[in-house]
Symmetry: C2
Subunit: 434 residues, 2 copies
């Protein structure tokens, strides 16, 4: 079926304006490792998908899924060893005293549980978050979406939610400030958000934060922000929920984004890469926090904590360990950033190259001095690269950050293919470049 | 590993008080068709699980899952024919003008979308529901849980939610009323709930209802209730959301519970049986309602509307059609109810046998005249039958309804095995029975 036929059917069957990538969308029919194939057999290098974290259609994961599906897949109100083995292995990958898991099917559901857990454990209701975050699509979790622009979008304030300016060094609160001064400015933002909640009688339950601020545009965060914000939150009686839905499972070159950003959260939510595409997500926390939640909320999730989730989740951890993918993310990510920084010399719009591990962000501007965000320019790059066989996307609150986030078995040879195509593209799109 | 070891690990790894069936829980390691097997190889007839609707580990479903998993599983921002084929086939199973689907991973997420859709389409916020319902575990959807007992449970009222007494004929609002009078009493309840919302300035967005009131205890609903309540809701400017998470996919002996209960909802949410255990759920509605939602809510669900969900969902529909499971549910359900009604003569606690298709409820009482609910008695039956190799559970707001809800390929021979074990059990537990 042609793309035009599919587009027309899609509008009719899934609704008008369903999210779709690229000016000229691509039909994908097969995936293998870091490669995706369209209906004509043309291959694309996948530079976007973090969900199939160990690579598309990884045979070890497919086999684990099949073996379990043909054996047993049922809810968790019977005893089953597999789900306990998985909970044990997953919590062991986290820092003490994290010991206990609650499984869900999506990252949204994991953040729902995390918020309900923090509220149950503290007895408080208030949540603070970055002003430009996204943590999920349920009615409650969506209250955290881009809180900073709620008013501009005609939305009423949410009395139990308050935001702070997300910490960044590039387009910062004060360009003349040192990193230490900037850190203090941003920490004041957290204090103010908590005080704002308290001033309307809402005590703090939690700060909910992505450890690498992925949706905000993966900025360079002033050193020490996460650890010191955690102290502030604890002093106010709240807990820190770390949303590892994007950062977790080796993406940043550490197992968890909170290791990369150097702090210790109380509750961790996880999702996307956890099942390599199978819906698996969840929350880990110390036993006492989980018990506070279990006691207050009679939580049950039909499809979650199933033998199938456990088998697939285990297989994903197997592959990450066996193929040394955490180290690979650190190495190849650093290599790509180095090479891309070299291109800043002759690529005026490429104002900043940043990120952690295999999550790279390219700040795209029309004027480096004025730091004018250029989402159209970033979009042009993304679409041109797609024509050349490289699938990327954009990130950031201004939509001007080119987002590079391939499956983890992305090696030096793949990076080199991309780097030459990228260099070719910037030379084509910027006539001023030599 | 012994059950005691598993129980101790479970408390530590999943938290204290995680939901578990039976006084002496059962470890399940394998499933096939309507049979489940424990770690010793002992088999149990599954009389509970509606999720593996076409039977545990059905080879056609397992094969479809494997084939798709080894080919491609990716999000929906690329074009893919499989997900459109599935949306087309699924919506075609529904009454006109339902034409369009939004996929999610769980029933909770489906009800989140349904509520957000009704609110987007009507511009109103108010939701009415049965006083004893359960529709999911997110913060917003959980506001619908047993609204009638919120006050007794020390919960504050939710200004956007109001409930009506669920319509039942057994323990009804007025035992001296005729069915027609009872119908009017219950319809007045719906009118009152809507008026209650309006009196506090909240206009009606939707009534959200399970077409067979499964969690309420699958009562005999006065004929015409759902259709006439739908009229009342429409007149008040609201939409009707039918929650088919439990009733759908042939369970009631029709494809949908709303066919069995004879009304036409505006929005339908689905879940549990949809992927035979793979997390697949979703909402179907007319295009204009989906578009109203898409326009207001930038909804995206990472794991949903995936080629894997589509392949598995398709395979489930294949099997339901090929094995004629809808008709089987109607036939075997009717046969079981007839036989069970015959046992009422010598089983005093068995006050009522009811249900639709392969969803059977047995009202268990300690005194038929006073209609005194006997949850302990029902629990004893359930636990005794488990010892004999039959897995059942309980339902109903009073916890006294024995719940029989096997996978759909449950045939005459399985029904007969159960019926003799059930008769044996009631004779053992009730010394007065001859």
């Amino acid at each position: 079926m042609t793309n035009n036929d599919l587009l027309a059917r899609r509008e009719r069957l899934l609704g008008t304006g369903t999210a779709l990538f690229y000016d000229d969308p691509v039909q994908i029919v097969r995936g293998e490792g870091v490669w995706l194939y369209d209906e004509t057999g043309r291959r694309y290098l996948d530079m976007y998908n973090n969900v199939p974290c160990v690579g598309h259609a990884h045979p070890h994961v497919v086999e684990a899924m099949q073996r379990q599906a043909e054996t047993l897949n049922v809810h968790s109100r019977y005893l089953h060893e597999g789900i306990l083995d998985y909970a044990e292995r997953l919590t062991a990958l986290h820092a003490d005293p994290i010991s206990t898991a609650i499984f869900t099917c999506t990252g949204t559901e994991a953040n729902e549980v995390a918020i309900q857990m923090a509220r149950a454990a503290t007895g408080n209701r208030g949540i603070v978050a970055s002003d430009s975050a996204y943590h999920g699509n349920s009615t409650e979790v969506a209250k955290l979406s881009r809180i900073g622009s709620r008013e501009a979008r005609g939305l009423a304030p949410e009395p139990e939610y308050e935001s702070f300016p997300f910490p960044e060094q590039y387009r910062s609160l004060d360009d003349s400030a040192s990193e230490q001064e900037l850190l203090n400015l941003y920490l004041d933002g957290v204090r103010k958000a908590i005080a704002e909640l308290q001033s309307r009688g809402v005590a703090l339950a939690a700060m909910l934060v992505c450890p690498i601020l992925a949706n905000e545009g993966i900025p360079n965060i002033p050193t020490g922000f996460m650890a010191q914000a955690t102290e502030i939150v604890h002093q106010a009686g709240g807990l820190v929920i770390c949303d590892e839905v994007q950062a977790g499972f080796g993406r940043t070159g550490s197992w968890w984004g909170y290791e990369t950003s150097d702090f210790e959260p109380d509750i961790v939510s996880m999702g996307k890469p956890m099942g390599n595409g199978m819906p698996v997500a969840g929350v880990v926390a110390p036993l006492n926090l989980v018990n506070a939640f279990r006691q207050k909320v009679r939580y049950f999730n039909t499809f979650a904590a199933s033998p199938l989730q456990a088998a697939v989740g285990m297989a994903v951890i197997d592959v990450i360990e066996q193929e040394d993918l955490v180290q690979n993310a650190a190495d190849i990510g650093a290599y790509m950033r180095d090479e891309l920084r070299g291109m800043q010399e002759f690529c005026e719009p490429l104002a900043e190259v940043r990120g952690q591990g295999l999550f790279v962000g390219l700040e795209w501007v029309s004027d480096r001095h004025a730091k004018t965000a250029d989402p159209q320019g970033a979009d042009l790059i993304v679409n041109r690269l797609k024509e050349k066989g490289f699938l990327l996307s954009r990130a950031g609150i201004l939509g001007n950050v080119v987002k590079i986030r391939p499956p983890l078995p992305f090696h030096r040879e793949h990076a080199d293919l991309f780097l030459s195509a990228f260099e070719e593209t910037i030379r084509e799109t910027d006539p001023s470049s030599p």
